[in-house]
Amino acid sequence: MELLFKLFSMAVFASTLRIATPLILASLGGCMSERSGVINIGLEGMMLMGAFTAVVGSFYLGPWPGLILGILAGGMMGLLHAFMSVTLGANQVISSTAINIMAVGLPNILIPVIWPGHYGISPTVGVIKDINIPFISSIPVIGKVLGHQNPIVYVALILVPVISYLLFKTRIGLRIRSVGEHPRAADTLGINVYKMRYIAVTMSGLLAGLGGAFLSICYQSQFSSVMTAGRGFIGLAAMIFGRWTPKGAMLACLLFGFADAFQAGAQSAGVPIPPEILLAFPYVLTLVALVGLLGKTAVSPAANGKPYLKG
């Protein structure tokens, strides 16, 4: 009983939010990009570049400038993906895979240049500290979960309805979705398909960059070249699970975050299950969710993955 209490404690829910934050940001990036018809499996690499640049920025300029630089680095990677897949019409899976590969390689080259003697892992840098929101933290149950968190956690939570509003209520959102469904139809109505896709993919990169920066200068305080650990891909899976909607994706991310927080809680509480199995739990859950529950019902944007070439 006491064990159960520990496992479902407010601390577990608070850590669920923390773990889910980078996933939510990645999945929002996925929504933006794929709603415009550009597959983005490069979220992982965009996050990694964001994480790395944020650490470099924080090292030289402090954590907040680091955060901005991290976001911009992600945006640059998005721009690169847009250039390859939209302008050059390259296969989007290959183009975004190239980004993933590059994002692993580049920091490994640069780390020993910036910090001689360091390989693969940066020194620790200044971080963006958690904040206390007095009004919320005084609310009984919710306060323990939401009252004391990192600012980026709040930003991510606010971005969910913002991106949802952007995609489904605004003019530019309608246009972005239209080029993801039927770019030729959009073109005949005078909508600039390339511009829409550039905007969407670049925003996708900015969001992933923010997710990466959160990892390296909020969640942790240094960069390592394996630190994203598949979070970009999990975010992508969450986006599919959430049927390409920000809100659905967020729920999926929270589910995964909870699974991760739960297994960590279970380990520290000394649940008699081998840690390897506990560690695998969130990933197994993702697999089951994707394969089992999802089945055939998920409908991706009709033009997703298809380069648009003007006739």
């Binding site: 003019r171 309608l174 109505l189 055939k296 009709a302």
Partner: protein
């Protein structure tokens, strides 16, 4: 009256093709002007230039006496030009309203102003007598309705010059009449309409004037009332044309295909065929008429072993074929002319001779142990290509490099080479020009004369009426009416195609 559009000396070349060769077009305000020509005559290219979708190499366009240069559709729209595309430019998962306002959305602050949009759209659709449910998803409404959405799209953008690109191709006869009414009401309100078609009947029925294109050149421009279909056909094709395939007397023989109570699912896992029954006899052409999406493609796929049967029976000469694969169907004497030759008829990256081998690859004399005797294949292909007048330099060319007509002839050559008992022809003339259509029709008629059983599925009702001995109407996965060829009127069939008999 003044010319509202003048296109002068338009030249456009695509790699290897002169699509428009000094084409001039003049359209007067308030008229319905037909642009008549075969596929590949340059109609669509000319209109794409006018609509800003492609640019021309040289030539000038004047709209309302203003020299214009369009860099994209947005410019054309701004000049009051709109286009109803042959393949609808609609987004199925968007609502009618979202499709209508896209690119021109009324906004309030950041948000799309739905109330205002609805009011504007209701006004326009009421004015032209085209009321519709703005909140329905486009994927859920009929083809005729979708076309109305396209027309409303133009009206919403204030177009006063409207280009209709082969708008009747996918409509039932009733829907065509409805469309004529809409076009008439548009003209009465001062809109100018350019109507692209290769159907002579339509030119005569609806247009005021007609410009005939052939091989990228203007052949003639005339008033419709001063010409007739025969003359137009001659201008369009460049020679005398037979209007209907001669159908000699022929008594049908023994039953070759018998389908009973057939059920099958469609692509989305819904019921596609719901208890369909039909039979086809030797020496008989049975035509399946129907509006697209009523189970035609499922029927063809089931009858060629490409789709699983849920229940029911398919008998070819008394042999039960349900649940058999495509190979068994071939072996049982079925030949298949698929509706999409690019998808199922040919492998575009393969040379022609390999394409001709498909379905024969395990048969003598082409096999030599585990090897294929490609010399024999080439020789044999050459024979087929000559017999079916496929115009190619040699049989080593890639199938993808042939013109549509030649590709279809190649498919025909291969399928007839099976010497089938049963020929299943699904939209055999889709996208072909008049000459090639004539050829395909003759060959199908010839197959009937040779005692083959032919099942012809087509969305083109005139093709069905022209060739079939019996006409079956398919509606929602069932045959709901049967007509003998000589007693059928197209309006009656059209009525049934729209499900008229059901209510």
């Amino acid at each position: 009256m003044a010319a509202i559009i003048r296109m002068e000396n338009i030249i456009k070349t695509f790699p290897g093709v002169l699509a428009n060769d000094k084409v001039s077009l003049e359209v007067e305000k308030g008229e319905i002007h037909c642009l008549l020509g075969e596929n590949g005559a340059g109609k669509s290219t000319l209109m794409n230039i006018l609509y800003g979708l492609t640019s021309c190499d040289s030539g000038e366009i004047y709209i309302k006496d203003q020299l214009v240069e369009f860099s994209g559709p947005r410019d054309a729209i701004a000049s009051g030009i709109g286009m109803v595309h042959q393949h609808f430019m609609l987004i199925p998962v968007f609502t009618v309203m979202e499709n209508l306002i896209l690119g021109n959305e009324p906004v309030k602050g950041l948000k799309i102003d739905k109330i205002k949009s609805e009011k504007i759209l209701a006004d326009i659709s009421g004015k032209y007598g085209m009321e519709m449910n703005l909140h329905a998803y486009v994927k859920d409404i009929s083809v005729g309705m979708q076309q109305r959405v396209e027309i409303l799209k133009l009206l919403y953008r204030g177009a006063d010059i409207m280009i209709f690109d082969e708008p009747t191709a996918i409509l039932t006869p009733q829907e065509i009449l409805e469309l004529y009414k809409v076009m008439e009401s548009l003209r009465q309100r001062g809109k100018t309409i350019i109507f692209i078609t290769h159907k002579l009947k339509e030119v005569m029925e609806i247009s005021d004037r007609v410009t005939v294109l052939r091989d990228g050149r203007v052949i003639n421009k005339i008033k419709t009332e001063s010409t007739n279909t025969r003359e137009l056909a001659k201008m369009m094709v460049g020679r005398e044309v037979l209007f209907s395939t001669r159908r000699p007397e022929k008594r049908a023989g023994a039953e070759v295909l018998r389908v009973e109570d057939l059920y099958a699912k469609d692509k989305r896992g819904q019921k596609g065929l719901k208890g369909l029954c039909l039979n086809v006899k030797a020496g008989e052409i049975v035509g399946i008429a129907g509006v697209d999406g009523n189970g035609q493609s499922e029927l063809v796929e089931v009858l060629t072993g490409l789709r699983r049967t849920d229940s029911g029976s398919i008998k070819i000469e008394d042999r039960e074929m349900a649940h058999r694969n495509a190979g068994r169907f071939l072996a049982a004497g079925t030949a298949h002319i698929p509706d999409d030759r690019l998808l199922r008829g040919l492998i575009l990256d393969f040379p022609l001779y390999e394409n001709m081998l498909l379905g024969f690859q395990d048969q003598k004399p082409f096999t030599k142990g585990i090897f294929i005797d490609f010399n024999k294949v080439r020789q044999w292909s050459k024979g087929l290509v000559e017999a079916f007048d496929v115009r190619v330099p040699n049989v080593n060319v890639q199938a993808g490099s042939l013109s549509g007509g030649n590709q279809q002839k190649a498919v025909l050559a291969r399928e007839f080479a099976r010497d089938p008992k049963l020929l299943i022809a699904s939209q055999p003339t889709r996208g072909l020009d008049v000459g090639a259509i004539e050829f395909v029709h003759e060959r199908i008629m010839q197959a009937r004369q040779n005692g083959k059983a032919v099942l012809l599925v087509s969305l083109d009702l005139s093709e069905i009426m022209n060739l079939s001995d019996r006409i079956l109407v398919i509606y929602e996965g069932k045959i709901i009416a049967e007509f003998m060829a000589d007693e059928a009127a197209d309006t009656e069939i059209g009525f049934m195609m729209a499900g008229g008999g059901k209510k």
